[in-house]
C-alpha cells in the first residue's frame, strides 16, 4: 500500500508545520497555485509506521551479507553517521563565512591530504558528488590538459570492454569518442590490441585496476608506458580501490588522474542508491584543472576556500555548493578510525575473503572465470555449465540466494563473461558468513538439478515473488495519480 493510499482529506501531522498559515497576500494571485498538490495526508504515526514497515522489506548491510561485486558493500560504522550529524555540522550554511567554517574545513583539508597520501597523487579535489561525476571531472581534466597544450586532436578515449558503463558514458559527456580495448583471456588488458589502437588521436585510457573481472592487471606498467608514449593520459577508476588500499598506489602505477568512490572504499553508506562522493586526485600537471572548490590551509589565517577566481583554469563547479559534504565528513571519520594500519588491513582482508570464497566455491565445483588468477577483492564465477545442464540461469540462482538470506552478487557484469556472478565479500564479513554463502550455493545447485522450478520461480520467501520487469517498461506507471477530483482541493 502506498503512503498516498493511506491519505484521507484533512488528515495531517499538524505539529510538524507552523500551527497557523501566515499572511502571504502579497503573492500575486496570478502566480499562485490553484489546487493543492496531491501529497499524502497522514498522521505522523501513519508515516512512521508506513516507512518503518517499508524499510523492513529491504536487504541491507545491517541485515544481510551483500556480496555485490564492484559495489563494495562493507559495514558502515555507526559513528560516522552520528558524528557527521552533530548539530554544528548539520546547521552550517554552505555560504557561511570562513570565519564560521574552520571546523569542517579542517576535516576536509585533512581528508584531501589523506586521499593524496593513499593514492599517491599530487592534489585532490573533493567536489564531485559521486563516482560518475568524478569520472566526468577526470576526463574533463584530461581534455583540459590537451586543450591547454593546443593538442586539440586528441579526441579518442580508450575504454576496456570490461569497464563500468559509466566510463564510456562519462567520456561521451566530456566530448570524447570512445574506443573499446578488449580484455585478454587471462583477464588482463590485451596489450597488443592496445598498442594497435593508440596514436595521436588518443586522449587517454580509462582503467580500473584491479579490473572489473577481479584481477590485478600485471601489465599495468606496460600499459602506462604505451599510453604515455602515445601522448595520452591514464585515468584510474577508483571503483576497485578497496582491493589495493595501502598496498599499491595508482600514482605509483603511472596514473595521471583518479577518482575515488568514498561510498565504497571509505565506507560511507549506499543509502539505497546514494549519496556518494567521488573525489578526484591528479598528478602535478593536471592540478590547475581540478574542479572547485578546494580547501587550502594558510598557517596564519586558517583554512580558506579556493574557487573560480583562485583557479581560473579549473574545469569548474560541478554542483552548486561544492559536493556532498556530509559524505566527505563520514569518510574523514572512517579514515581517522582506521589510520594507516587500518587502511592496509582493508585491502588485505578484502582480498583474503575473496580468495577464500573463490577457493571454497572452486572446491565445490563452481567454475571460475579466471581460474589461474588470484582474486583481487572480488572474483567471477560463470554458471554457463549449470545453465546448460539444468536450464537454470544466473538470474535464477541470484533470486534463489535471496531466499537463503543472501543478497545476490552482481549478475551479468562484466558483459564479457557469460552467465556470470561477480562476487565481492568485503573485509567486514566474518568467515562464517562466507561459509554460509558457499553452503547456500551448493544447495541451490542441487535444487537446480533436482527441482529446477524451485530455482526458476525464486524468490519464494520475500515480500514479493519474481517481478515482471518487462511489464514495468511496457505498461509504464511511474507515478501515482489521485482519482479524478478526489485528493485535490482548492487552497
Amino acid at each position: 500500500m502506498l503512503i498516498q493510499e493511506h491519505s484521507r482529506p484533512g488528515r495531517r501531522a499538524t505539529a510538524q508545520a507552523p500551527l497557523t498559515t501566515a499572511d502571504h497576500s502579497t503573492l500575486p494571485q496570478a502566480l499562485r497555485r490553484k489546487q493543492r498538490a496531491a501529497l499524502p495526508e497522514v498522521s505522523e504515526m501513519q508515516a512512521v509506521r508506513h516507512y518503518t514497515r517499508l524499510s523492513q522489506q529491504n536487504f541491507s548491510i545491517d541485515t544481510h551479507f551483500y556480496p555485490l561485486g564492484s559495489c563494495t558493500m562493507k559495514y558502515n560504522p555507526r559513528a560516522c553517521n552520528s558524528l557527521a550529524s552533530l548539530p554544528g555540522f548539520l546547521a552550517r550554511h554552505p555560504a557561511a563565512p570562513e570565519s564560521h567554517s574552520q571546523g569542517i574545513m579542517a576535516c576536509l583539508h585533512e581528508l584531501q591530504d589523506m586521499l593524496k597520501s593513499v593514492t599517491g597523487m599530487h592534489a585532490v579535489s573533493l567536489a564531485p558528488a559521486a563516482g560518475a561525476q568524478g569520472e566526468l571531472a577526470g576526463v574533463m581534466m584530461i581534455r583540459a590538459y590537451h586543450d591547454a597544450r593546443g593538442d586539440h586532436d586528441r579526441r579518442e578515449m580508450l575504454v576496456p570492454d570490461a569497464a563500468h558503463g559509466t566510463n564510456p558514458a562519462s567520456a561521451i559527456m566530456a566530448g570524447f569518442k570512445v574506443r573499446e580495448v578488449p580484455t585478454g583471456r587471462n583477464g588482463d588488458v590485451d596489450i597488443d590490441a592496445l598498442r594497435a589502437v593508440v596514436g595521436p588521436q588518443t586522449a587517454g585510457i580509462m582503467l580500473t585496476n584491479p579490473s572489473t573481472v577481479g584481477v590485478f592487471d600485471r601489465n599495468i606498467q606496460a600499459i602506462a608506458k604505451t599510453v604515455h608514449e602515445a601522448g595520452g593520459l591514464l585515468y584510474y577508476d577508483g571503483a576497485n580501490l578497496n582491493a589495493i588500499l595501502g598496498k599499491v598506489r595508482p600514482g605509483d602505477m603511472g596514473f595521471d588522474v583518479i577518482h575515488m568512490n568514498l561510498h565504497k572504499t571509505f565506507s560511507t553508506p549506499h543509502g539505497g542508491g546514494g549519496p556518494g562522493a567521488g573525489p578526484v586526485g591528479v598528478s602535478k600537471r593536471l592540478e590547475p584543472y581540478l574542479p572547485i572548490p578546494l580547501v587550502e590551509k594558510d598557517d596564519d589565517e586558517g583554512y580558506h576556500w579556493l574557487d573560480e577566481d583562485d583557479r581560473p583554469e579549473s574545469i569548474g563547479r560541478l554542483t552548486a555548493f561544492g559536493g556532498n559534504m556530509g559524505i566527505l565528513l563520514r569518510a574523514y571519520i572512517y579514515a581517522r578510525l582506521l589510520g594507516a594500519e587500518g587502511m592496509r588491513r582493508v585491502s588485505e582482508f578484502a582480498t583474503l575473503n575473496a580468495n577464500y570464497l573463490q577457493a571454497r566455491l572452486r572446491a565445490a565445483g563452481f567454475q571460475l572465470a579466471y581460474p589461474e588468477r588470484r582474486a583481487s577483492h572480488e572474483f567471477i564465477i560463470t554458471l554457463k555449465k549449470e545453465a546448460k545442464d539444468f536450464g537454470v540461469n544466473t538470474m535464477d540462482v541470484a533470486k534463489r540466494l535471496l531466499d537463503y538470506g543472501y543478497h545476490a552478487p552482481t549478475t551479468y557484469f562484466p558483459l564479457l563473461v557469460p552467465e556470470c556472478l561477480l562476487i565481492e565479500p568485503t573485509e567486514t564479513e566474518p568467515k562464517e558468513a562466507l561459509d554460509g554463502f558457499v553452503e547456500a550455493m551448493i544447495k541451490i545447485r542441487a535444487e537446480a538439478e533436482q527441482e529446477p522450478e524451485t530455482v526458476r520461480q525464486a524468490p519464494h520467501s520475500l515480500p514479493v515473488r519474481r517481478l515482471d520487469d518487462v511489464r514495468a517498461a511496457r505498461q509504464l506507471d511511474v507515478a501515482w495519480k489521485p482519482a479524478e477530483g478526489l485528493a485535490e482541493s482548492n487552497i
Partner: protein, 457 residues
Amino acid sequence: MPFIPHTDEDIAAMLDTIGVDSIDALFDEIPAELRAQGLDGIPAGLSEMEVTQLLQARARSDGEPTCFIGAGAYDHHIPAAVWQITTRGEFYSAYTPYQAEASQGTLQVLYEFQSMMTALTGLDVSNASLYDGASALAEAVLMAVRSNRKVKHPRVLMPRTVHPFYRRTVASIVQHQGIELVEVDYDKRSGRTQIAHCEAVADQPFAALVVPQPNVFGVLEDVDALTDWAQARDALVIGVVNPVALALLSPPGDWGQAGADIACGEGQPLGMPLASGGPYLGFLCCKQAFIRQLPGRIAGKTEDLDGKVGYTLTLQAREQHIRRSKATSNICTNQGLLVTAATIHMAILGAEGLERVAAACHANTARLAQQLCEVPGVEPIFDAPAFHERALRLPAPTETVLAGLAEQDILGGFDLGHEYPELGSALLVCATEKRTDAEIAAYREALTSALVVAKAA
C-alpha cells in the same frame, strides 16, 4: 582490528584453504616494485571515543550563528521523525535496488517520491533524483537539447536571474556538448526577466528557455508569459523551482498555455539539513513525452508472478550500465537516502503543512526586509513581488558589513555584489519559518552597529 572480524584461527584456516602462507602472498601478482611502502601523511587510527572528541570539538568550534542566508539552501525545520526513520539501517546501508525483490522498501519509496514530485510540479513524470539542483539543471539542459525535435540548434537561453552557481555548474558540465548558453538580462527595477530581454537574444532559434521561479533574487518571474513566449518559438521551457515555494506558487505544469516541459530544482528544502551544502537532492520532472530522455533512475510499478503489486527500476535502457556510451547521462549513484528523507518529510507535512512553511517563510522575510530597511541607508533593490528572499542595497561594502555581522554571530545573507556588480552593495537576505521575532530584531540591531563600523572603516 577495527571493523574486521577475523580471528587468528580464521586467518590460518582461510589461508590454508586458499593454499598460501600469508595474506601478503595474495598480492603476488602485483609487480613488487609497485608495492606501496608506507602511507605517510595518514595518522595512526584513533578509538571511536577519540574521534568523537575530535569531531565534537570541530563541530562546536564555529559557534551557533543565526542564519539569514538563503541563496539556494534554506534553514527549515525538519520533523524529528524524518531522519530517525531515514537512518534506519535497512534504508541507510542498502545498495541501489538492483535486486528488486529484496529492495521493495527502497523501490516503493522511490515511486512515492516520484509521485509526490509530479504532484508538486504538475508534470507527468519524475526521476528518482540527481545530485543537486544545479547539476539537475545541467541534465535538464542536455535533456531539452536532446528532446527538442523542432529546434536542432543547441542553444539555450539562460536568464541571469538563475542562481549564478547553477549557471556555472551548467556551464562546467555541458561545456563539451557544443551547447551555447545565451545569457538573458533582467530588469534592474523589478528584478524580473522580461520578454524584451528574451527577445534581445532570440535572433536565432533556441532549443530551450530556462525559467527560475522564484529567481535568485527571490523575485517572482512572469512564468506564464515567458512560457508562452518560448513555446511559441518551438523552444522547450525548463522551470527551476523551489519545492517549498511550489506549495503556494503555480506549478510548472500549469505555466502558460501548455505548461513547462521540464522542471528541476533543489530538494534540500524538503527535509535536508544545511550541512555545508550537501548531500542535497536534485529533482527532475517532465512531460510524459520526454520520459525516454530523462536521465537517472526511475522506479516503476509492476506485478510479481502472483499478480501482486511490486516496484522495480524501469527504462534501464536509458542508463549507462546498459546503454554505456549512448546513455542519457553518466549518472549512476544518485541521492537515494535524501529521496527517502524528502519522501518522509512530504508525507508528514502534506500539502497544507508545506503551505504553512512557505507562508511563514514569506511573512518572516517580509518582516525582516521591512525592519532592515528601517536602518538608515538600507533599501530594497527590486519592486516586484518576491517569495522568501529579498535583495537589499547597503550603504557600505557588503563584504565589510557581513564580516561585522559575523562577528556578532549573525550570518547576514548572501553577497550579490560578486555576481551582480551592477547592483552595487547588494545583499540577499532570507528568514525562514525558524527565525523568530527576537532574532530578526537582533539582526536589525547588529546591522545598525555593523554599518557604523563599516562606514567608519
